[in-house]
């Protein structure tokens, strides 16, 4: 059992770089937590602090109710999977997996049983005598997982474990990692910059930027109710579209978003939250998939523009759409045939609009 708690944790490097700022986070026992963000956002540093590979500069890091700021890695009962896999190149697969147990002086037959058991589960039992250099990327990945598994740790740490794999393998390994989490019933902390990985794997996602947590929540929370424009942009493919404009409030339950010819009638729920925002400059966010090409939503929901580009992606197509000199991208059905230069009218799903403050980028409605 392991609950991890960050209390006002800071990480500063000797060269002055402030990697993690005032981190407060509670990781529940058996939770699958994903740290998500662009490179340099502090997510790997956070993971390394949990592992004990990086010292905590300030604040308290707790495992259950024990302070572990100064506990060395091997006394924390954590296992880690590295982006590079970090397999010992001169050791066989067997010895790579067994190494952590050997260092802990586990009995020989116990080691053997656990190594073979893990190899069986990961379908690498036939590779035990090979060396890492003789394995494919996917096989190395499994060995790295096996090395962490046999330790039966109470916290399982993964630092971008899938980023060196090709696309197809990455998706199948994602499913396996999810299964592994269910089978092992331990706390998983997983670092990635890949939104799709985060959304499929996580119980909760922590979005970070420049060492600061932007939002913590379920994948649904993060995707549907982003707290700021950074979180909104970081998730979604193609990225969310932004239109700058003004809020016009009619009464406490009616409001419109206006930009030139475009006037979107906001839902009652949204309008109530924006009741005191009359005339405010805002940034409207529309996810690429939240449009309907049949334009049936009525006049207050229609956005018009000229088709700039058509990008078929197999299952559907992305429509590049010129709007006051800005390119908006929408995802529409592939049956629809649009040519470059066509005028199109799409109706926006008004229930799924995001309204952010133009200057701070913070949400005004969630």
């Amino acid at each position: 059992m392991a609950r991890i708690r960050f209390e006002n944790v800071e990480k500063k490097y000797a060269n002055g770089f402030h990697a993690v700022k005032d981190l407060n986070l509670d990781i529940q026992d058996k939770e699958f937590l994903v740290l998500l963000g662009p490179s340099g956002c502090g997510k790997s540093t956070t993971l390394n602090m949990i592992a004990g590979l990086e010292e905590v500069s300030d604040g308290r890091l707790m495992f259950d109710d024990m302070l572990v700021n100064y506990t060395p890695p091997h006394k924390r009962d954590v296992a880690m999977v590295f982006q590079s896999y970090a397999l010992y190149p001169h050791k066989t697969v067997y010895d790579n997996i067994a190494f952590g147990l050997q260092m802990r002086k586990a009995p020989r037959d116990e080691i053997d049983r656990r190594v073979r058991d893990a190899a069986q589960k990961l379908e690498i039992a036939h590779l035990l005598d090979r060396r890492p250099s003789q394995l494919s990327g996917g096989q190395r990945q499994r060995v790295a997982l096996g090395r962490a598994m046999v330790r039966e740790p109470s916290v399982f740490l993964m630092d971008e474990p899938l980023s060196n794999l090709d696309a197809a393998l990455r998706i199948s390994m994602r499913a396996e990692i999810k299964e592994l989490h269910q089978a092992m019933q331990t706390t998983f902390v997983y670092v990635t910059h890949d939104q799709a990985e985060a959304l499929t794997l996580a119980d909760r996602i922590v979005v970070m930027r420049d060492g600061v947590v932007q939002q913590v929540g379920s994948p649904d929370d993060i995707y549907e109710r982003p707290q700021n424009t950074f979180v909104a942009s970081f998730l979604g493919n193609p990225p969310i579209n932004y239109i700058d404009g003004t809020i016009e409030v009619t009464d406490s339950s009616t409001a419109r978003f206006v930009r030139g010819d475009l006037a979107l009638t906001l839902t009652e729920a949204t309008a109530r939250k924006l009741a005191d925002c009359n005339g405010r400059e805002v940034r409207l966010g529309i996810r690429a998939e939240d449009v309907d090409e049949t334009a049936q939503g009525g006049e207050g929901s229609v956005i018009r523009g000229k088709v700039n580009s058509v990008l078929p992606v197999g299952s559907d197509q992305f429509l590049g759409f010129d709007f006051y000199g800005e390119e908006l991208f929408f995802r529409v059905g592939k049956d629809l045939s649009h040519r470059l230069g066509d005028d199109v009218a799409l109706s926006v799903d008004l229930n799924r609009l995001h309204v952010f403050d133009k200057d701070s980028g913070k949400t005004l409605i969630w």
Binding site: A51, L53, P73, M80, F82, Y88, H90, F99, G100, R147
Partner: protein, 293 residues
């Protein structure tokens, strides 16, 4: 029909021709010519009588006591100096792989012996070891380790080790750099993984550092062994093989035989023996250390 050698191959041959000609003249021809000489009994004191003797120059070696003494001296010198170079270079490389103030300056200073020519190095140590005004005597005397100046290189027991010391001093920098390169190429992830796996500092050294340094070690061992068994300058300048035969190594033996006794045939034969031994040793090193790398 395709020609065996196309345009590219023929122009490549043309461009290579000049350097090939030079190499033929200065390397291939002398090598083959000395092989040829090694089958004759040639003494410059009897220039008109140079009979063809088949392998006599080679078989004679086995009954020549001084030859075997020189082999023994060469083995002692090489084993002592190569092991000292490997150990010292490893320690220095580990030191220079740490982050500390003044590391750059220290690495630069460390390179100095490497930049000194062999002959200059030999002359410098001749001064240091000198029985009348040598620095070694001076320092040891002032520190009360000795009560009178010693004739260091005149001591049969110590000579070979003192020469080895001068050789080690000159060779450690290069060996250090070769080992440092392998050290630097170890990904830091491996150490982190080993820390999470619970390996102590010593266990990380044994399980991560040492195996990764194997190729570097192999290179150092082969190169330094080859340098040591063929080394000549220090013996020529410091002791001329003496006192007695205390530093009479193989390269010195060949020199004496060829240029002092003017016996070119047997000198050439011994050179070939030395070349073959060098080759065999490096081959063995590559086979044993190169396994499982």
């Amino acid at each position: 029909m395709r020609r065996l050698f196309g345009y590219e191959e023929r122009s490549a041959a043309l461009f290579l021709a000049p350097v090939m000609a030079v190499l033929m003249g200065v390397a291939v021809f002398p090598i083959l010519y000395s092989l040829y000489l090694s089958f004759f009994r040639i003494k410059l004191t009897r220039p008109n009588r140079t009979p063809f003797v088949w392998f006599d120059n080679y078989t004679d070696l086995f009954t020549n006591d001084l030859f075997w003494v020189s082999v023994a001296r060469t083995v002692t010198f090489s084993v002592v100096s190569v092991s000292a170079i490997a150990v010292i270079a490893l320690l220095v490389a580990l030191l220079l792989n740490q982050d500390f103030r003044g590391r750059r300056i220290l690495s630069t200073i460390l390179l100095v012996p490497w930049a000194i020519p062999y002959v200059a190095n030999a002359l410098m140590w001749k001064w240091i070891y000198d029985s009348g005004y040598g620095a070694l005597n001076g320092i040891l005397y002032q520190m009360d380790f000795i009560d009178k100046y010693m004739i260091w290189l005149g001591d049969q027991e110590k000579t070979i080790f003192l020469i080895a010391n001068a050789f080690v001093w000159k060779e450690v920098p290069l060996a250090t750099i070769l080992l440092l390169v392998s050290l630097k190429s170890i990904p830091s992830d491996l150490y982190q993984a080993a820390r999470v796996d619970g390996a102590s500092v010593w266990q990380r050294f044994v399980h991560v550092t040492l195996p990764a340094m194997k190729p570097g070690f192999m290179l150092v061992m082969i190169y330094e062994t080859m340098m040591a068994i063929r080394h000549f300058d220090l013996f020529f300048i410091l002791t001329e093989g003496g006192p007695g035969d205390a530093s009479h190594v193989l390269s010195w033996h060949i020199y004496v035989e060829t240029f002092r006794n003017l016996s070119f045939g047997s000198g050439a034969a011994m050179s070939y023996v030395l070349a073959l031994v060098t080759f065999a040793l490096s081959y063995t090193f590559i086979r044993t250390l190169g396994r499982k790398v």
